[in-house]
């Protein structure tokens, strides 16, 4: 569960991991000093806003439909990347839905990386077994994210 300041690089972290995973599976060297990556059967992603008048999709419904199809596909060998989990609705409802979805992913045993601004999801990650918090630091002098380690 990745959290931290806006514009701090949470989404970039997800994309970097996704690209590295896909590169590895295509026998392309990963841009890292050292990398050890498993082979996944799927790399499943919900990043960005797919809202569309033509497709009758709101921000929220696009995320929900995406997550629904990711859940239907994911196995314990899958990598799942979810940006801004539980957004697009009332924070409490979004967080409750996100926790319920995360529990399904945990039951499946897939590797999930999700970003959030919900304190409730950070609290969930701090107590639930098999879930770990990670943060992008904030440099309060320059008012921007600071990535360390």
């Amino acid at each position: 569960m990745i959290s931290g300041p806006n514009t701090g690089g949470k989404t970039v972290a997800l994309k970097t991991i996704g690209l590295a995973a896909l590169a590895t599976q295509s026998a392309i060297p990963v841009a890292a000093q050292r990398a050890m990556l498993p082979l996944f059967d799927h790399v499943l992603v919900d990043i960005g806003d797919e809202q569309s008048i033509a497709a009758d999709l709101s921000t929220f419904s696009a995320h929900m439909l995406n997550l629904k199809s990711i859940l239907a596909t994911a196995t314990r060998e899958s990598l799942v990347l979810v940006d801004e989990m539980g957004t697009g609705t009332a924070p409490e409802e979004g967080a409750a839905l996100a926790v319920a979805l995360l529990e399904e992913f945990r039951a499946k045993g897939c590797l999930v990386l999700a970003t959030t601004h919900h304190d409730r999801l950070k609290a969930y990650a701090s107590t639930a077994e098999g879930v770990l918090n990670g943060a992008v630091e904030f440099d309060d002098v320059n008012l921007r994210g600071r990535r360390t380690g």
């Binding site: 859940l71 609705t89 839905l97 926790v99 319920a100 529990e103 701090s126």
Partner: protein, 66 residues
């Protein structure tokens, strides 16, 4: 409805979009436990900030404590 705040009904919409009943029920239970513990609808509509982890494991662990 001018002058009235509106609820989001995110969980209900997620149900209509086809998320499994299991997930919907779990989300609803999590939301209701939060509302019940947090002082009812008024607190839900006007939540006060809380520290992360201050309520952790309060009811014996698991996801219901978040």
């Amino acid at each position: 409805m001018v002058g009235v705040p509106g609820g989001s009904s995110g969980i209900a919409i997620a149900r209509r979009l086809g998320l499994s009943e299991e997930i919907i029920e779990r989300a609803r239970a999590l939301l209701l436990s939060r509302i019940a513990r947090g002082g009812g609808l008024d607190a839900y509509l006007h939540p006060q900030p809380r520290g992360v982890g201050s309520h952790a494991k309060a009811d014996g662990g698991g996801a219901t404590c978040v």
